[in-house]
Amino acid sequence: MKIGVLLKQVPDTETRIRIADDASGIVTDDIKWVINPYDEHALEEALKLKDARKAKEVVIFSLGGKGVDQRIREGLARGAERGVWIEAPENLDSLAIARALAAAVKAEGVDLLLAGKQAVDDDNSQVPAMVAEILGWPQVMMISELQIDDGGFKATRDVGKGVRQVVEGRLPAVISCDKSLNTPRYASLPGIMKARRKKIDNKNISALGVDTSSDPLVSHGNWGLPPERSKGQVIPGEPKEAVKELVRLLREEAKVL
């Protein structure tokens, strides 16, 4: 079995976001880029299946600009075999990204495609389910448990209020991963050395038959920061009095009780 992993480069979650002067996006000058945290769980699950001898090969697919090959390289250092880097312009909408990724996945021919439940930059949660539809494959999004056997899968997802559903289907399928699925491994030193010699295929998005010249279906502008939360008040006094005052403020001033 061959497993594909969708891996996106995003700013480190520590990043303090600054807005560009023309409000068209964020300032990316001094951003530290990392693998999208949820995609680390997707990669880990693929590597675990390989460790369990249920898969032979793990291939990383990543679409984006500068630095993406570095993120793929980090994934190769953890144990993936190969990478596919789709070079593409910025500001594509999710459907264009999904079309490109689906075309690359189809050309490669994988039996299972794992992804993150969302990219922590755009917070869209769209691409994996779109890829599944384009390929005509079953999907389960945001799973917390996965079993692969005899050409089928059984996955568990949280559907809210603590209710969990167990979902079954046949492979090939697209599955997106939540963080409770596993604990991602670090790259080992030999892993890092080996990764240097592993192969990253470079593809251009237009060569995958995706037209990027038309206007996106979803576009954005007028970027801004959220309103600053002003520093509130620290309630002084002995514990008993402070708690009484807090409850009074919550009732009379904030009116939330």
Partner: protein
């Protein structure tokens, strides 16, 4: 050009949820500017109660539509979109809509903007406001397809007091194909407790590493939450230490919450935690370190030992009439 607004409404036990009413209220306001009528689509019941503000109600019922499943739900919403030919489709952002709407959008070649926190009409076009980078930034989002699809975060809009009652529901027939049955739900595991989901909760009490143990989390945070009618939450440090489960984590890689009241106990206020709860209307921080960053954005703070303050607070709340 499509006309009118289709609203996918959440129900529970046949009762329309507050998240649906807030969308119906918003849809009515938008329809007044865009023209056309509001259609409510309800899944999994043929006798929904409490639907307001819609000119018609369509229901999709039957064993395939009771529990959430990707294929049947995507098909049902597709049938409704094709029948209503709306200019705009609205839904609440939930596990279900995050799962099937992108699939349907890809099928129909439509644009989808998820998790908006505001919607308005500018020059005859709908504009959404959506947080990105876990709420560290926001932008205006436009969807140029016809219809445009938006999902909204729960608790984004007030429910108007004067929403008129809706007429009797009509059944919408949905025929499924083989392609809609690619997955099967084989089991549903019930929760241990019956609390409001974090993403919809109006009050949240969260515990952090300062709780020191799962026993303390269970004996301090849970009863305080119960007294406040709140849903318990946790920081990642608390989840990683096993005090609470993964589903309870608030933050950039946990749940993004939007309650009226958020009480943070023994939580320092790291940037990734703030990202998940910064839109809370009122934030209360209880922390023994006056330098903790959480005090920079808490509405009210008490600098003291949480093991003293939390039980006192619980008793004080329980004494309220």
């Amino acid at each position: 050009m499509g006309n009118g607004i289709l609203v996918l409404c959440e129900q529970e036990g046949g009762q329309i949820k507050g998240t649906a009413l807030e969308l119906l209220g918003k849809a009515r306001e938008l329809a007044a500017q865009l023209g056309g009528s509001v259609t409510a689509l309800v899944m999994g019941t043929s006798t929904p109660t409490g639907v307001k503000g819609a000119q018609q109600i369509w229901c999709v019922d039957g064993p395939d539509f009771q529990a959430y499943n990707t294929g049947p739900w995507a098909r049902a919403v597709q049938v409704a979109i094709e029948k209503a030919a709306p200019a705009l489709v609205l839904a609440t952002s939930t596990v279900a809509t995050r799962d099937f709407f992108p699939r349907l959008a890809a099928r129909l070649g439509l644009g989808l903007a998820t998790e908006v926190v505001d919607l308005c009409v500018v020059d005859g076009q709908v504009l959404g406001r959506r947080p990105v980078y876990a709420g560290k930034a926001l932008y205006d989002v436009r969807v140029s397809s016809d219809p445009a699809i938006f999902t909204a975060r729960p608790n984004s809009f007030p429910v108007p007091a004067d929403l008129p009652d809706a007429p009797a529901p009509e059944a919408l027939d949905v025929a499924l194909t083989e392609a809609d049955r690619l997955t099967r739900v084989v089991d549903t595991l019930a929760p241990e407790t019956d609390v409001v989901d974090l993403t919809e909760a109006a009050v949240i009490v969260s515990g952090g590493r300062g709780l020191k143990s799962k026993e303390n989390y269970d004996s301090i945070i849970r009863p305080l939450a119960a007294a406040l009618g709140a849903t318990p939450g946790a920081s990642r440090a608390a989840v990683d230490a096993g005090f609470a489960s993964h589903g309870d984590q608030v933050g950039q890689t946990g749940k993004v919450v939007n309650p009226n009241l958020y009480v943070a106990c023994g939580i320092s206020g790291a940037i990734q935690h703030l990202a998940g709860m910064r839109t809370s209307k009122v934030i209360v921080a209880i922390n023994k370190d006056e330098e903790a960053p959480i005090f920079d954005f808490a509405t009210y703070g008490i600098v003291a030992d949480l093991f003293t303050i939390c039980p006192l607070l619980q008793a004080e709340i329980e004494d309220l009439d």
